[in-house]
């Protein structure tokens, strides 16, 4: 189809993004910029305890406070919600139990923010403090009291276990066995825009919510459920997000609260979270403890791999069931692994809920896998780049866990960064204190399944054309900075042969735009793009048939280019775009077309196989150069070379921005960012609180810290993508953290097996080495977990068909049966 060598006039041409002007003039309207007449302001009272039962809430003094219009508590919003159908565990306001410091218990709606804030202090809440779980080990050790009353048992949310072939047999065949543990600390998105929402009752009595959300469709469904009004009477408008990175892809309690308040008061109600509250909203990177066991032949060929992950979920489910599956899903798509066993366990702790952040569940195991490969290369005396080139998975293959890979440009990515970085002259050759490290990664171009089971399209696009020549394109996708509006307009303009400025786009509005599932899982370019191509091709057919009849030429010879429709064999024979649309409107009546996209059916047909499949996978390789001070442990990163297999760059300016932005965020995770907690002393309530609930203390890289980035795009169009495009928003982050760790080892010979890699850890590892130890900083203990019997799914080369061949007893069911 489109993955060909045609000449394009919009696609692939570096150009100003369609919303560029709005963004540089400050005219982009974010959620907090929405101001309505008679608007009131909402503030939330949040729990000071990490785990407590609410004994009583007295709101009478707050209600009597001057300027207060309404006070809501859990009793006003009793219905639970959650992003996944299997974890409907959140209340807009807690009515019985609070589960982390910051969990909301009441809302005040007042004439202004200050009044609302003052009134929060007039609400009296009596708590009975419960045992606090700060670490996964505690949650495994103590089943009671439970943080949530669902999940597998005790404080275990979800355990999964899969055997794709016999990993032990793989280890028996191996010449070398590698066993390593890694820890990946949690971190947060830190989008500069604080979450904001405005709810209002429309003149016709229906509800509208403007919100900084990446997933208006899911918010729409949740509002209908919680408010018990038909979804058809609710409109959710996703304002462009001031950065998302996954942090606005969940459904938030404050969205429900302002919606209820607006309905009760029949006045617009706004909330804008403070920065401190954004740290409580979180849904960021899960802290993950990992244990890898890998067997290889002498030449580096992998014979088997076993991975265990222990995932700290925080207090609620969020995307967690998907997150834990993602920690084991994508190991197989980069290098050929013939036998693969994965076990994962997500536990609840009394911390703000973790969720999806850029890379969702995959950067943590990628960190471990790529460091272990560095070790494998060293022990086998093979160059790490050569080793990877040798074991790269083949294109158009089916992995051990039934992920269908199309194009794979990983080999080219590795060759590119090796060449541009001068790898062969640097690796193990730089003076002490300087080093280079290489790592790779891969990511989905859109999740193959929606988060709720349905057979409907994942993305829909509508086109409207009229006699003015204007084309309006409608889609539910959300602009979060990544350039989704630009992709939408660019694709339509390319197909119709018009200028992007001739296309108006309306996006992210559930009342006006066809459903798109949201800006997450790097799905928008591929899914929305394919839907847009279909809608535009249909419009092209309508216009083409009218022009062909008028000019008496064959429709198949018509060319749409340069705002004209003409006979390709006789370009003078034709007309401008506007006249062509007029002819079409006269011939067909009012013009409109639709397009939609549904991902191909997954090859995986086992329970849990819904996480991992994607229409296409992007690939990345990176070389990071570091300078490490062996006295202070200070790490400098002067340069990063990165090559990304994008399929095709639709707008290279934006693609480069996504790659460099990923490198930036990856360096933050590698070197400084951590969502860490500490216990207050007993005299100060013993609460488990954020170490860093402010931007000042939560360190992130500034313009001073950002190294030079040399970006290479590998373009090998993938048949699944629009014009061959694959994702770029998340994949390029993945290799950065392990590449930094590998570079640190090259520079000073110590292994830091956890992030962030901070100077104190380097000094500790150097001290360890000086004392004759292995020169390593990282975890050494993996808790005993009562794993379920693995689901046995024989890989394709062992005659498997994607189905499990056993039916493991479900843990909880088994327990209940034993107890009865």
């Amino acid at each position: 189809m489109s993955a060909d060598s045609r000449k394009f006039s919009v696609i692939g041409v570096p150009r100003r993004r369609v919303d560029g002007r709005a963004k540089v003039t400050g005219q982009t309207r974010f959620a907090d910029d929405v101001v309505l007449p008679r608007m009131l302001y909402c503030k939330l009272l949040r729990s000071p305890h990490p785990h407590a039962r609410i004994k009583n809430i007295d709101t009478s003094r707050a209600r009597a406070h001057e300027g207060v219009h309404l006070v809501l508590t859990g009793a006003d919003l009793p219905i639970e919600f959650g992003i996944l159908p299997v974890s409907q565990d959140e209340q807009p306001l807690c009515s019985d139990v609070v589960r982390y410091v910051g969990d909301p218990v009441a809302a005040v709606i007042a004439k202004d923010e200050l009044t609302a804030f003052d009134a929060l202090h007039l609400i009296d809440v009596q708590y009975e403090v419960l045992r606090t779980y700060s670490e996964p080990q505690e949650s495994l050790d103590h089943p009671e009291p439970r943080i949530q009353d669902y999940g597998e048992e005790g404080n275990i949310h979800k355990r999964v276990s899969f055997s794709f072939g016999d990993a032990e047999a793989g280890f028996d065949e191996a010449d070398e066995i590698f066993e390593d543990m890694f820890f990946y600390e949690g971190n947060t998105h830190l989008a500069i825009e604080q979450h904001a929402s405005v709810a209002a009752v429309d003149p016709d009595g229906k509800l509208t919510l403007w919100s900084s959300t990446q997933t208006p469709h899911y918010v729409h469904r949740a509002l209908a459920q919680v408010l018990e009004i038909p979804a058809a009477h609710i409109r959710v408008i996703a304002c462009p997000n001031g950065g998302g990175f996954g942090g606005k892809s969940d459904i938030f309690n404050h969205e429900m609260v302002v919606a209820r308040a607006a309905l009760v008061l029949d006045r617009p109600v706004k909330i804008c979270l403070t920065r401190e509250e954004v740290f409580y909203a979180h849904r960021g990177r899960h802290p993950v403890l990992m244990r890898f066991k890998t067997g290889t032949k002498k030449d580096g060929t992998i014979t088997g791999m076993k991975l265990d992950t222990l995932v700290d979920g925080g207090a609620y489910g969020s995307y967690g069931v998907a997150s834990v599956l993602y920690t084991g899903a994508l190991q197989t798509v980069t290098y050929h692994i013939p036998r693969y066993q994965f076990q994962g366990c997500r536990v609840f702790t009394n911390k703000p809920p973790c969720g999806p952040k850029r890379g969702h569940g995959t950067p943590q195991p990628r960190f471990g896998q790529e460091i272990q490969l560095d070790r494998i290369a060293e022990r086998l005396a093979i160059d790490p780049a050569e080793l990877r080139l040798k074991i790269v998975e083949k294109p158009n293959s089916l992995t051990a866990n039934y992920l269908r890979i199309g194009t794979i440009g990983l080999g080219k990515c590795i060759q590119s960064v090796v060449k541009h970085s001068g790898w062969k002259d640097k690796y193990r050759k730089l003076p002490q204190g300087k080093g280079v490290g290489l790592a790779c990664g891969s990511y989905l171009t859109g999740a193959g399944l929606a988060i709720y089971w349905n057979k409907m399209p994942h993305s829909g696009v509508q086109l409207r054309l009229d006699r003015s020549g204007e084309v309006t394109v409608f889609c539910g996708a959300i602009e979060i900075g990544q350039g989704s509006d630009d992709v939408l307009v660019g694709v339509v303009a390319e197909v119709l042969g018009i200028d992007p400025h001739d296309v108006r786009c309306v996006t992210g509005d559930t009342a006006l735009t066809p459903v798109d599932l949201g800006s997450y899982s790097s799905r928008v370019t591929l899914m929305m793009g394919n839907a847009a191509i279909q809608a535009a091709e249909r419009a092209k057919d309508l216009v083409g048939s009218a022009v062909a009849a008028e000019l008496d030429v064959s429709q198949s010879n018509l060319v749409f280019a340069g705002r004209r429709v003409f006979d390709g064999r006789d370009p003078k024979k034709g007309m401008d775009w506007r006249n062509a649309v007029c002819l079409a409107e006269a011939r067909h009546g009012t013009l409109g077309t639709v397009g939609s996209y549904t991902p191909p059916k997954s090859a995986a047909r086992f329970g849990g196989g819904g996480v991992g499949p994607s229409p296409a996978y992007s690939y990345t390789a990176a070389v990071v150069e570091v300078e490490v001070d062996s006295v202070t442990g200070w790490i400098g990163v002067p340069r990063v070379w990165i090559a990304h297999d994008i399929g095709r760059a639709l707008n290279p300016v934006l693609v480069r921005g996504q790659v460099e932005g990923s490198v930036y965020m990856g360096l933050g995770e590698a070197l400084m960012e951590e969502q860490a907690y500490r216990r207050l002393p007993a005299k100060h309530s013993n609460a488990l609180v954020h170490k860093f609930p402010s931007i000042l203390e939560y360190k992130s890289p500034t313009s001073h810290d950002m190294p030079e980035v040399i970006t290479e795009l590998i373009e090998d169009p993938d048949p699944a993508g629009p014009f061959g495009a694959k994702e770029v928003g998340q994949g390029p982050l993945l290799p950065i953290m392990p590449a930094v760790a590998n570079a640190v080892y090259d520079a000073i010979g110590v292994r830091i097996d956890e992030v962030p890699i901070t100077p104190d850890k380097i000094v500790k590892a150097l001290d360890d080495k000086a004392r004759g130890g292995p020169g390593r900083y990282g975890p050494n203990v993996f808790p005993d977990i009562d794993w379920p019997e693995p689901l046995q799914v024989p890989p394709p080369w062992e005659g498997g068909d994607g189905k499990a061949i056993n039916k493991p007893e479900r843990k909880r069911a088994a327990k209940l049966a034993r107890g009865s």
């Binding site: 709005a22 963004k23 400050g26 500069i192 300016v653 490198v663 000042l696 313009s703």
Partner: protein, 173 residues
């Protein structure tokens, strides 16, 4: 509900984006709040209201300041420039052109602060080096771009300002 008695608002005159203006506002409000809530200038953003992120930077008498850390009442009689004041004669400022063309703005949320800060730099230093640009912008956090396209946008704007080719080409908007 009780009636409001007497005057509770502060009043001041400022030069805002080269125009004289009067504004009344609650006296406890920061400049950020006065701009956004009382003057309708929504281009200036906020990411923390604690002076940490830099998103609320504006120019006060030509100097970049964090508008969340300055009270409105401190600004009486002073000259304020926000992102809305960068355009001239119906045309974008060369910095705006360059940021739009070269990917200097992704989500656009820190962009207004970066733009006014860069404007102050270019007015003070004729040919800033990459290091000087880094230093000048280091108080504004951007989570999207990785800064590289921001640096390049500032450098491109310098070139365009010198050659006077700030006017957009037909294909750009």
């Amino acid at each position: 509900m009780k009636k409001i008695e007497g005057k509770t608002k502060a009043h001041m005159t400022v030069t805002i984006n080269d125009e004289a203006a009067e504004v009344s506002f609650a006296p406890y409000k920061t400049l950020l709040e006065v701009l956004r809530e009382d003057m309708g200038l929504m281009g200036t953003k906020h990411g923390c209201e604690l002076g940490e992120c830099g998103a609320c930077a504006v120019l006060l008498d030509g100097e970049p300041v964090l508008s969340c850390l300055i009270l409105g009442v401190e600004c009486d009689g002073r000259d304020i420039t926000t992102v809305e004041g960068l355009q001239r004669d119906g045309r974008l400022h060369p910095l705006q052109e360059a940021f739009a063309d070269l990917g200097g703005a992704q989500c656009g949320y820190c962009t207004p602060a970066i733009l006014v800060t860069a404007k102050a730099l270019l007015e003070k230093v004729a040919n800033p080096s990459r290091e000087q640009i880094r230093e000048a912008l280091s108080g504004v956090l951007c989570r999207c771009t990785g800064y590289q396209q921001i640096f390049e946008s500032v450098e491109e704007a310098m070139v365009r300002m010198k050659s006077g080719s700030a006017q957009p080409e037909e294909a750009k908007r």
